[in-house]
């Protein structure tokens, strides 16, 4: 029995839809205008392409509104931490995240925008994300829901955010795991933790 949309179904549908959207975007002559910039210092993501990382960083900016005096999603390197996490996954999650990012980036074409997500104004981005969150189209809802989850998790595990939410923190010292996704290790090559 297979209930709902299977992960493979999600992936295939995601890629197919992404392909169709990409095709529409190319026809509309918009692909060249999609920024290939990356957040500073994140020139070499582990799993995502630099373009995918830039989409994720733009999304994280909208998902997270920092409290006064706390890091932004970019300062917390949320997108890059997610990218590092994907490197430890057996592959299916990375595929889903990629498909979801493509849906977010090119999704605005479905809503008659002539620009991709990263080229919308912040207000337009918010409106578009609300459309995704409330969409009757499961794939779209799942894509945004999954990315939202990742952004929030990797932002609020940054200890610089804790004071602002009234959380006093842990009772013991930190010890990074061998396969860490912490901000502190992102500039070290993957798998370089000491055995």
């Amino acid at each position: 029995m297979v209930v709902g949309l299977s992960r493979r179904g999600f992936l295939q549908a995601g890629l197919l839809t992404s392909g169709a959207l990409l095709g529409a975007a190319v026809l509309a002559g918009c692909v060249r205008s999609i920024p290939d910039t990356e957040p500073p210092g994140d020139a070499y993501p582990d799993v995502l392409s630099r373009r995918e990382l830039a989409i994720l960083a733009a999304l994280a900016d909208r998902v997270i509104t920092p409290a006064a005096g706390t890091p932004t999603a970019r300062d917390a390197r949320v997108a890059r931490r997610i990218d590092r996490e994907l490197a430890f996954n057996d592959g299916s999650l990375a595929g889903d995240v990629r498909a979801a990012l493509t849906l977010i980036e090119y999704g605005p074409f479905l809503d008659f925008h002539l620009r991709p997500f990263t080229r919308l104004s912040p207000a337009e981005q918010d409106t578009f994300l609300h459309t995704c969150a409330e969409s009757g189209w499961t794939l779209r809802r799942n894509a945004f829901g999954g990315l939202r989850f990742l952004c929030l998790f990797f932002y609020y595990t940054d200890d610089r955010t804790w004071r602002s939410i009234g959380y006093g923190g842990t009772m013991v010292d930190r010890k990074l795991p061998e396969a860490a996704n912490a901000r502190e290790v992102l500039d070290q090559p993957l798998g370089s933790a000491r055995a």
Partner: protein, 514 residues
Amino acid sequence: MILEYTGVTADRHERVDVVVIGSGCGGATVAKELAAAGHSVLILERGGYYTSGRGDLDQRADDMLARIDGGRGLDTTTNGQIGLLYGNCVGGASVHYWADSWRIPADRCARYATLGVEGHEDSDLAPHYARIERDLNVHPAPPEYYNRMNLLFDQGAGRLGWHVEPVPQARKGCLKSGHCYQGCSFDAKQSQLVTHIPDALAAGAVLFADCRVDAITTDAGGRASGVRASFLDRRSGRPSGHTLVAESRCVVLAAGGYGSAVIWLRSRLPNGSGQVGKNLYCNPVPYLHAIFPDVVEQWSNIPTATGTSDFRLARYDGDRYLEGGYLLHPNQLQPELLAVTLPGFGIEHRRLMDVLPRMGGAVAWIDDEMPGEITLDRRGRPLYHYEIRGVDELKTRDAMKKQALVLLAAGATEVIIPDTPGTRIRDQHEIARLDDVDIANGAFLFGAPHPAGSLRMGADARTSVVRSTHEAHEVPGLFVADPSAFPLPPSVDPSLGIMAWSYVAANAVRAHLG
């Protein structure tokens, strides 16, 4: 002796009486019993070995989910509706768990008996429970372990006329840190890591951590003859290149409710009943948040000192569902999981984060009746197909209504439903809105920490996978000792029941070994 990935420098070949796959409640219990009986026992555990003494259990969700959780906290069912929580470390999911320690209720044992399970009645298990409760220091939560959310829950339940009870806890010298699901930094939670694993090692068992069983092997006669496994490099989670071949007189499969059927399917063991991987139950977990006028700090002290079993059994009028079919408790989430389960994004979400210390909540475990299935994809990776539906959806909605009731009765000014629109309930008249809340995939994320059923026990080889001796109907010498063998979920948190069943399994393995 524990071998970790750093100590593996070559392929290995071992010959023992028993290979035990998995070191959680199921595997560790069998392993220590068999080692104590003088058998040579090799425990193989896919995850790493993490201890408080080495400072590994650092209470941070990002670090700890990466260390101890099977999917590093990110695994879901194929439809994305349910987050799967399971163990991946020495001690298994008990390193994660909240330490609520219930016996399987006698009515559920009797139900199992009607499904062809023998020798697992309440009276059969009673002596095993007595031992486990002594060894794990199981006791009702004393008053000083009631955090503010627990006290509020009791007040609310009292106003509604519900009966509440202290939840039995497996703890010793708890320091109330509240980081139970991230692994106890003080060895106070009596997980397998600090109880049955040390017992097994002291009795002579050997444990290989970072060692993933790829297949159970069989001899020409179809009997279990050992395993093939790969050592993993903990830095990447991928095979290090070194392998293990273990030959044994029998194999105990205890890789957990999400893991054992996967190994069976990957090993291409016989499946004449067609039931392997089927009947996946997982006790889906609905939860509601609520804002209180004063500070709650739900993340402090122990999660569930109290709760109510009033609704454990579903009530029906003929075929018509009326109410119940779940346990109901105060909830405890640490801030990062509160953040991901609170609805909205941007400024809307920020406003909720600003009142986090005043955020409380309630949680329920649904005694599910509509199972899912475990299959493999083309690359042999597990797929967990499960959708909350039918009577389970009715139970889920009823559980959420009861949560809203108790939270409002406890003084919450606003109940927050973690659905996409972030539906709010401000008084009892609005509770009916829970009938319409969209709980489909993508609109609501449930948790599922209690998998069971996918290698179910029964007398008939045509409809079940293992006998009442825990030995596989079709693979002599292969024993299943985890909740995969439960024919139905136990209707309470399962750890104590898993261990009690493992004592029964250990006796059967001993008889098999002679």
